[in-house]
């Protein structure tokens, strides 16, 4: 599959590298055509890795991952372009964390709305799927980093888009994938971040994950 990545941070690098490893062609996009981190990433990941602008990555991918900082996501998807994303799957991995008021960060949107819903409303012709935002990026692409069974959540309005994301997530090694329903479930998924951040402080490690026991 051809996959676009928006963002050159840790999350974009982790997902982009994993997607190349499992057999996809991946283009990493950023604000500029030759972002240094994107160039380095492409060089390290071989012939199936390339780079370009947000718009280049969006035009390239049939599935596009939003791996930008939550506060930059709407601008990034806007730069990617509605026309380039039309009818495609946008996997929103971002969290709307605001670090500007110190630690711990707060959420820029929550409770009655979410970042994923903001993106879906702004780009109605794109099939937004919220997924993978409730864990560290190392765990995202390597669930065995946390022993035993644990869960990845996803939600979105389009069934086929969620099936496509489910297949990708399974190829990373995930076995327990919980579909929480339509895109409004992203509120709950993004609102997991405050306790996730507390737990990271408590364990002094990001290598943990949520499991729903029943």
């Amino acid at each position: 599959m051809k996959i676009g990545i928006l963002g050159t941070g840790m999350v974009g690098v982790a997902l982009g590298s994993k997607l190349v490893q499992v057999g996809h062609d991946v283009k990493m996009g950023s604000r500029t055509p030759n972002n240094e981190k994107a160039v380095t990433w492409a060089k390290e990941n071989g012939a199936h890795a390339s780079y370009g602008t947000f718009a280049d990555a969006a035009a390239f991918g049939e599935v596009v991952f939003n791996c930008t900082a939550g506060t930059a996501s709407l601008a990034a998807v806007t730069a990617a372009g509605a026309a380039n994303l039309k009818g495609k799957v946008l996997v929103d991995v971002a969290n709307p964390l605001d670090f500007s008021k110190g630690m711990p960060p707060t959420l820029t949107v929550c409770n009655t709305d979410s970042l994923a819903e903001q993106i879906q409303r702004a780009f109605p012709s794109v099939n937004v799927v919220k997924a993978l935002n409730t864990m560290n990026c190392a765990v995202m692409v390597n669930p065995t980093l946390v022993p035993g069974d644990h869960d990845v959540f996803l939600c979105g309005n389009d069934r086929q888009a969620k099936e496509k994301v489910t297949e990708i997530v399974k190829s990373f090694g995930w076995r327990s994938i919980i579909d929480l329903g339509d895109i409004t479930a992203a509120r709950g998924m993004e609102m997991l971040l405050p306790i996730w951040l507390r737990l990271m402080g408590h364990y002094q490690s990001p290598n943990f994950n949520f499991k729903i026991v029943r």
Copy 2:
């Protein structure tokens, strides 16, 4: 131990009954001195169960559980009385759910504040411990209702108060109790509710719980 319960709903009844079962003297308080549900509960729970006003329950208990609806909690604790609660442990089990705008409920406070912090600020001489709010009340008092290992979270500013609550929670059968730190961790605990509500819809059952795997 002498324990007060604020609230006569499902949570108050479940906790009050369990606390009597494990050997405590429990007084259930409500707005009126002889609330019908409190009278019935006391009758069904024998000599160690009694009832009265919020103030009666607060004066009676060395530990007091806030089991009122989140939207009524500040008024209930105010009626219980700062003098009656001074130096005592107030276990805040409530969630600030607002059902007035339809389903799903939203939170009346979140992100930069929490119900537990509101109570702690309003009653600085009380040792507020947030605990047990992240699960159904049947699971609270009977963790084996959900098979295997799963977690109960707590937080608060006073170490001894948290130790006292830990002992009580252990007497219910809980083995994994995660202390998230000071009372501001209540934000994350209360913000678990939106995904909890989604999961309840997904599983069509409240008999599940969170486990942190690492």
